[in-house]
Symmetry: C2
Subunit: 326 residues, 2 copies
DNA sequence: CTGAAAGCGCTTACAG
DNA sequence: CTGAAAGCGCTTACAG
């Protein structure tokens, strides 16, 4: 009814109002200003729902992340949101905790045309099930991906990053390098552990030890270190697969009377902001978090705009940031 | 067209399919199963856009936050998302950086019926302008609010929390208590500084000093402390209005050769998870972050469901968590 | 350059 | 218990 009201006020048809609204060329200037005036008078706000239904595009992107509280995730989301906004898209956020039930409810929005595409950051482990729900809809897998799924992905080379980190620690003279890993539902857990083991083997380091954190919290990191300290000989270095875990590792180490890095070198992963302000500052493997998000959006929009755009698996560079903890 | 396809397949009318879809009572069981079967056969997915347009409700909530990267914000968002999901609503997230331009684009979604209501966490300073855009739409102000705006709010008593924190430090024998504040665009900055000054006055403490951090980062916290250390006599305690700033304060203090808490007691604000794993663990004022989010959703839904529900200003409790840094 | 009409895919009184 | 019809508020060929 609303566009109709404007039309009556301006003495034109709904079509003309629509043309003005969408800045179509070829509306007589005089008509245009009359319509604009009418729009102002009645404070007309277009009903976007109707527009979306009619044009069958919503300019909305669905984002499925497992934990918005994880600083890595929130930085990626920041990147996603900024790029989406720059391209005229908006973000529908679902904090899934990798639970299919929650995911399903949101994906109904995708198949229900409320969103034009989806970016997932869920554990690789549940991607196959998601595939069934998402079907053919435009989809980009961010950070976590399943190579068997026909959807683009953006990630880093986790195996290489882990491999080089172990080599870095070995170069510094460390001989008993432990890994604090987490949940094996995640692809990165497998890849980083793979890199860790490869490096130990290649470097002929026979001491190896892995502790698994139950979740990505400092407490879980502390618990993991305590577990590592129970063995007959202690590690002299710990590589944690997340900065948050590393904070807990350092905390538990100091609590146990160890000096960092003298007695125990610690390296984290992600490159979260606060790592540079810890005591000691934390050495970490920095992921291009904003880029991961931004590129995901770009690839997704490619697919939305040209449904037959090729599927690509993009690998972004990581970077070691050396600080006092190692 | 789609519901029509199902209807043809099942040999009924669109109306009947719709009734089955919405579990209306009074559909003959036999008809029901026939429709359900047809739905399965053609893998029908309802177009939610059409439904939303027709019923003029979207079950979508717009969330405007200034910085998703701030751990406080992401915890509140977590609370918002969880409660919304529990009530059958979804979240549209805008990372505004308190920029009106970005906000305006999202608010168009609200007035354009894509969202049923809005929760803002933006700086109080830009709330008046938002008011103009939001108009009469259901709105809850979370953490930051403007008392002059006719919309509900959920927050804590910042003035009281700051007051009690200063008293707590004074009780511990501290005499030169400084404040590390941030951006005065925020209401909480004013309130906490107010509480700080009130307490000093009431306690007859004449030493006072405030440093302003340019943003909520550890680096800004460090810079603020360095500034405080330039004076003739140093503070013996710092109250920082955010845990993130406090991390930077502690870092710069240690760097300057001060012991925490012996030479300088430090108290943060928010109750972010990692504060307990810092070295030393950080004393902080804990805000009920999930509750702030959850209650905001509840108040907003009240308003959405009954547009004449009264406006309320809810104040949630805060809690001091005492640790080694003070 | 502008308008009348069809249609996006649903839901909901209103009849029967 | 079920169906025909109107309508949510737009946009877009198609005429003129």
């Amino acid at each position: 009814m609303s566009i109709e009201k404007v039309a009556r006020l301006a003495g034109v048809s709904k079509a003309t109002v629509s043309r003005v609204l969408n800045q179509h060329p070829g509306v007589r200037p005089e008509t245009r200003t009359r319509v604009l005036a009418a729009i102002n008078v009645c404070e007309y706000q277009p009903n976007l729902l109707a527009r979306q239904l009619r044009t069958s595009q919503s300019n909305m992107l669905l984002v499925l992340i497992s934990d918005i509280t994880n600083p890595f995730c929130s930085r990626v989301v920041e990147g996603i949101e900024a790029e989406a906004e720059a391209q005229g898209y908006h973000i529908l956020l679902c904090n899934t905790r990798s639970q299919l039930r929650r995911e399903a409810a949101y994906i109904a929005l995708l198949t229900g045309k409320v969103a034009d595409g989806v970016i997932t950051m869920d554990a690789a482990d549940c991607l196959q099930e998601l595939q069934g729900l998402i079907g053919e809809s435009p989809w980009v897998q961010c950070a976590e991906y399943d190579p068997a799924i026909p959807a683009s992905s953006v990630s880093i080379n986790n195996r290489e990053a882990a491999f080089e980190t172990v080599r870095f620690l070995a170069d510094k003279g460390r001989r008993r390098i432990a890994l604090v890993n987490c949940d094996m539902r995640y692809l990165y857990s497998h890849q980083r552990e793979g890199g860790y083991r490869d490096a130990l083997e290649q470097l002929d380091l026979h001491w190896s030890r892995v502790a698994y954190a139950g979740n990505i919290t400092c407490e879980a990191g502390s618990a993991a270190l305590r577990e590592l300290l129970t063995g007959p000989d202690r590690p002299d270095a710990v590589f944690a697969v997340s900065d948050v875990l590393a904070v807990g590792v350092v905390h538990a180490a100091l609590e146990a009377g160890l000096r960092v890095p003298e007695d125990l070198a610690v390296v984290g992963f992600d490159g979260i902001n606060f790592t540079s302000s810890l005591n000691p500052p934390l050495t970490t493997i920095e992921q291009p978090m904003n880029q991961l998000g931004a590129r995901s959006v770009q690839l997704l929009l490619n697919r939305i705009r040209q449904p037959h755009a090729p599927i690509v698996h993009e690998v972004l560079p990581w970077k070691r940031v050396e600080r006092a903890s190692s």
